[in-house]
């Protein structure tokens, strides 16, 4: 069984003045333990699609199934990570990581050990009792990643998780995510604006076009892992994919039909 089945999803946002067609007939299947990146320009509905998969937003049409069951509300085996770390400032690092454990009423003892292990893997050993404000942006996102993984979800949805970080930290965290993913296999759907990030991380890259959001192309990345952006044997494959992505994202036919419409939606 596939991990995620997205079946004919359309999303229309209505406000008093405008009617925004955010997603149009999206169909996509994500296999178990697959790493999918969703790439597209602003307004192509990437984040909206992610929220629909997460069960935070009901779709106007179509349905999403996770593990064969229709998604109608947030599931405990699906975890979400945002661009902003959303760490609670009054909790310590370990307290933040254990938040899902408390809310889902899991065994605190067992999961405390897991939380500590995750923090070690994420390079945060010794920072357990610090407060979020004492950490750098990159470290905060590592904590958020540990929090997203602590309750052993099978699916991890990531909404531009490194977009607010500087370029170097961002690359570092991408590599780290790859490493952590190889250790704790998960099905990941990762939304990004960055071609580099998309290429480095994905098994498959889903390229979306805006207004209305559609799937323009799905690209396979066949380079072996672990990948890096340095000079490696598979640099050719990564170059080829990112060149193709550039072509796709900047091609005329991917431009919105009406030219420069005012952006009616800030989502995605």
């Amino acid at each position: 069984m596939s991990a995620i089945e997205i079946d004919g999803i359309s999303q229309v946002f209505r406000s008093r003045k405008a009617r925004v067609h955010a997603l149009d007939d999206i169909t996509l299947t994500v296999e178990e333990n697959e790493f999918i990146t969703l790439v597209g320009r602003s307004g192509c509905g990437k984040s909206t699609l992610l929220r629909i998969i997460a069960g935070l937003l009901p779709a106007t049409r179509g349905e999403v199934r996770v593990d064969g069951a229709r998604v109608t509300r947030p599931r405990r085996d699906v975890s979400l990570m945002f661009q902003r770390s959303a760490l609670l400032p009054w909790r310590s690092v370990i307290g933040n990581v254990l938040l899902p454990v408390e809310i889902l009423k899991l065994d605190p003892k067992q999961y405390r050990r897991r939380a500590e292990e995750l923090l070690t893997v994420a390079g945060l050993e010794g920072f357990e009792d610090r407060k979020p404000r004492e950490l750098s942006g990159g470290m905060q996102q590592r904590v958020a990643l540990c929090r997203a993984l602590v309750h052993e979800p099978s699916v991890l949805l990531m909404d531009e998780p490194f977009a607010a970080l500087d370029a170097l930290t961002r690359e570092e965290l991408s590599l780290e995510l790859q490493r952590i993913w190889s250790e704790y296999r998960k099905t990941i759907v990762f939304v990004t604006h960055s071609i580099q990030e998309a290429t480095l991380l994905a098994d498959r890259i889903v390229v979306m076009s805006p207004r209305p959001g559609r799937i323009a192309r799905v690209l396979d990345v066949r380079a072996p892992r672990p990948r890096s952006l340095g000079v490696t044997a598979h640099a050719d494959e990564l170059d080829r994919v990112s060149a193709e992505l550039h072509e796709l994202l900047f091609a005329r036919e991917l431009e919105p039909l009406g030219g420069d419409q005012p952006r009616a939606t800030s989502i995605g």
Partner: protein
């Protein structure tokens, strides 16, 4: 050096101001300001030749404080107890009301305008009524404190509960929190800095409330002392009571600030004082 410090702080140089604030200037600057004011007051009494029974000099007030040192502590205590009991009771009533307002549109629409209307009534106008209803004991004073503190605490707490950052709400929803969990783990702690804004406004009002209560039908408290000394034309004693009142207000205010620092140290970066 202190004068330079004042000048620089007044220039609004934030970095310098903060450095002074950290280096004990937090204490020195306000004390300096008070000393200057007292000095001007003293100068004025001498320069204009005011009679002590009209405007006593700082020295007259000090002498009165010393003379009445056995009498005044009892009155201070009465006022403190009324203030704190009323303040505590106001918190106990106001916070649940704020929760109701924050969580229910209907209750917000119905309670809020009524609260605003209630708050618009001058509290002094109610004081005699409270005496009729509750007698001459501590009751009407405490009631006055509750009435006057209630509003700022409700408003700030309700605002805080409704201002939960969007990412916390989304996180909470994605974890399928119950309403109770969302309140306990996200909304209430996130609202605490707002709550403390209300508490800091309320505690100074609380002292005013207690004094207003004591103006009408009291036999003890600093408010009573002020009224009684007015009747005896003992201006120095009235001034002494007023000085004690402001010291009391300052002490209570900073007590709340201290509790805030201890309870929500994580919010200290976002708000000064």
């Amino acid at each position: 050096m202190a004068a330079d410090a004042v000048a620089e702080a007044l220039e609004g140089d934030e970095a310098v101001g903060r450095r002074i604030a950290r280096g004990g200037g937090r204490l020195i600057l306000p004390l300096l300001a008070i000393a200057v004011l007292v000095g001007l007051w003293w100068l004025a009494t001498i320069a204009f030749g005011w009679k002590p029974f009209l405007v006593p000099s700082p020295k007259d007030v000090w002498n009165e404080l010393v003379r009445q040192r056995h009498l005044l502590p009892g009155h201070v205590e009465a006022t403190v107890v009324e203030t704190l009991e009323g303040f505590g009771l106001a918190i106990v009533i106001a916070v649940p009301v704020a929760v109701l307002i924050a969580y229910s549109r209907v209750l917000e629409a119905s309670i809020y305008p009524a609260l605003v209307a209630l708050n618009a009534i001058p509290k002094i106008a109610i004081a005699p009524l409270l005496v009729i209803w509750m007698g001459f004991g501590a009751g009407p004073k405490i009631a006055m404190v509750v009435l006057i503190c209630f509003f700022p605490i409700v408003i700030s707490t309700a605002t805080g509960l409704k201002a939960t950052p969007g990412e916390f709400v989304e996180l909470s929803r994605s974890l399928a929190s119950s309403r109770r969990q969302e309140f306990v783990k996200f909304r209430f702690p996130a609202a605490l800095p707002y709550v403390f804004v209300g508490l800091k406004v309320a505690i100074t009002l609380a002292v005013i409330g207690a004094v207003v209560g004591e103006f009408v039908g009291a036999t003890k408290g600093l408010g009573y002392v002020i009224v009684a000394s007015g009747q005896n034309a003992n201006t120095s004693l009235a001034f002494a009571a007023i000085v004690l009142l402001s010291l009391l207000s300052i002490a209570l205010f900073y007590a709340i600030v201290l509790i805030e620092r201890l309870m929500i140290p994580w919010a200290a970066d976002e708000q000064q004082l």
